[in-house]
């Protein structure tokens, strides 16, 4: 028994070293994220998206819509466009290119609903698509609505 244990201990130590060496070895080959180009892409794509949204909103306001309604319609348009692109499988490549540039605007929220829902289509229209529609969007909605409402109630009592 004692011999076996000794052997085990002997094999254990080198193992740790081996894994460490292996990690270092792997690190050489994993590409470091290109911080600058990723950030530049996210900045430009995100900025352009917001500019386009403002342009459409201004068009709607010019045609006689109130600013609030125009804002709501722009949001709806962006959400539907992002979901359609997700359905067509285009949004994935967009996301790979622009990263946060398309995930941080409301388009990312829309994509986070459809993407898992499509993947789980096989589990049926109710428990598959219906449930998975909220697997990523659920946390965002729960936290966002809670935070907003708590702030509103605090405001009500402090007023």
């Amino acid at each position: 028994m004692s011999k076996q244990k000794q052997q085990q201990q002997q094999t254990k130590k080198p193992k740790k070293e081996v894994t460490k060496q292996y990690e270092q070895y792997v690190k050489q080959f994993t590409p470091k994220p290109k911080y600058f180009s990723n950030s530049a892409k996210a900045f430009i794509v995100g900025g352009l998206l917001c500019m386009a949204a403002l342009y459409i909103q201004n068009l709607l306001i010019d045609s006689g819509m109130s600013e609030k309604d125009a804002g709501a319609i722009v949001t709806v348009l962006l959400v539907c466009l992002a979901q359609l692109l997700t359905g067509l499988g285009v949004f994935d490549s967009l996301g790979k290119f622009a990263g946060a540039g398309v995930f941080v605007p409301i388009t990312g929220f829309a994509n986070s609903m459809v993407a898992p829902a499509i993947e789980y289509k096989k589990e049926g229209p109710v428990l598959g698509v219906g449930a998975k529609l909220f697997s990523l969007a659920g946390p965002v909605l729960v936290c966002g609505i809670s935070a907003g409402t708590i702030i509103g109630i605090l405001y009500y009592f402090m007023k």
């Binding site: 917001c50 936290c143 935070a147």
Partner: protein
């Protein structure tokens, strides 16, 4: 001039998101949650409203803008009473949310998963 501010502010918010994605181990859904909650809290502190007035869609289209609408609706409702404070947040975002749910459901039923290349 509006367009320039929309570009700079909208791009800037996305830039922060990208830096968070690259330098921390936070996953995308967590970043989305952080942004929405941060937007709501900044609105509560009165810091996000000036940004919206300056950059318009540059501040409302990114996800902190969703938090802003939720908090703004609740705060506007709070001026009228307790019940409007509860209803206000969702009332303000109802159109976008409903579109996201209904259209998202239809899209998910119509399209089939694409193999990832």
């Amino acid at each position: 001039m509006d367009y320039l501010y929309a570009f700079l502010v909208g791009g800037g918010i996305c830039l922060v998101g990208q830096i968070l994605m690259d330098t921390t181990k936070l996953t995308t859904p967590r970043i989305l949650v952080i942004f929405v909650v941060a937007g709501a809290i900044l609105t509560g502190l009165g810091l996000y409203e000036p940004l919206v007035n300056l950059a318009k869609n540059g501040a409302t289209v990114p996800l902190p803008g969703f938090g802003y609408s939720l908090a703004k609706g609740a705060m506007d409702g709070a001026k009228e009473g307790f019940l409007p404070a509860l209803a206000g947040g969702l009332k303000n975002t109802a159109a976008g949310l409903t579109a996201a749910v209904v259209f998202g459901y239809i899209i998910s039923l119509v399209f089939s998963p694409k193999s990832k290349r």
